[in-house]
């Protein structure tokens, strides 16, 4: 599975467009991380726990998108975008979407 965020797949030609695929995750922070983050809010600096959480949910959203693409018989996804929205206080959605295509 090749994933790019430009319109094409470099070095390959797109033979068929299969349409939009997407994947999302909603994550929230848990209490332990909250306490650490509260401390960090005094001292400043990187919130490592949250960075991990963000990375995990990015991979998760991407994975769900890829599963969907695989299910409809694509072998690449182009024009991938990430988008975020906050659903409620303390929870946020990460959304990945792109166009499923068949290359070569």
């Amino acid at each position: 599975m090749i994933v790019t965020n430009i319109e094409t797949v470099p070095g390959k030609t797109i033979v068929k467009h299969l349409g939009l695929v997407n994947g999302n995750t909603v994550r929230s922070k848990h209490a332990g991380r909250d306490i650490m983050a509260g401390l960090k809010n005094i001292f400043g600096g990187e919130l490592k726990g949250y960075t991990e959480l963000l990375t995990e949910s990015r991979e998760e959203a991407l994975q769900r998108m890829l599963d969907q693409a695989r299910a409809i018989g694509a072998n690449a996804v182009v024009n991938v975008r990430f988008s975020t929205s906050s659903v409620a206080a303390g929870a946020a959605e990460l959304f990945a979407y792109g166009t499923a295509v068949v290359v070569e």
Binding site: I2, V3, T4, N5, I6, E7, T8, V9, P10, G11, R27, S28, K29, A37, K40, N41, I42, F43, G44, G45, E46, L47, Y50, T51, L53, L54, T55, R58, L62, V80, R81, F82, S83, T84, S86, A88, A89, G90, A91, A92, L94
Partner: protein
């Protein structure tokens, strides 16, 4: 009275540790930017000699929190209006760090350039006690290497 002492204490803690953390972070950013300087990043979508290379999505993310002192300064600034430089440096740090992590991912893939760089600011922390608190940045793009 105790509240005031606690407040001043937190302010001092925030100032001392926050400034130190920020200086250290900027030093490390500048150092790593020099190391990864050979990976070029473009916000352009069109790759010139596309047929001769292969591309893959890379991303980097970071969550950075502001310190107690800076938040106080920013709140004051909010009252008077104008440039909130306390948050400007926070955002700059977060963006540069996210781009660096994306470049590191590109290096691991053996790429020499990254195209169509996008920056997305997430907000998991928003809504917690109504303050900005922390900023989350995702940087992503298509890493490209010449086909061998």
């Amino acid at each position: 009275m105790y509240d005031l002492i606690l407040f001043l204490f937190l302010l001092l803690l925030g100032y001392v540790f926050g400034q130190r953390a920020e200086k250290r972070h900027f030093r490390s950013i500048i150092e790593r930017e020099a190391q990864l300087g050979d990976i070029l990043v473009f916000s352009e979508r069109k790759i010139p000699d596309e047929a001769a290379c292969e591309g893959i999505l890379v991303a980097g993310s970071v969550v950075v929190s502001v310190d107690y002192f800076k938040r106080f300064v920013a709140d004051l600034r909010n009252f008077f209006g104008g440039r909130v430089s306390a948050y400007e440096s926070l955002l700059e740090r977060a963006r540069r760090e996210a781009v660096l992590r994306m470049k590191e991912a590109a290096r691991r893939k053996g790429a020499d350039s990254v195209w169509n760089l996008r920056l997305e600011t997430a907000s998991i922390y928003k809504g917690a006690a109504g303050s900005v608190g922390a900023v989350e940045v995702i940087a992503y793009g298509t890493a490209v290497r010449q086909r061998r």
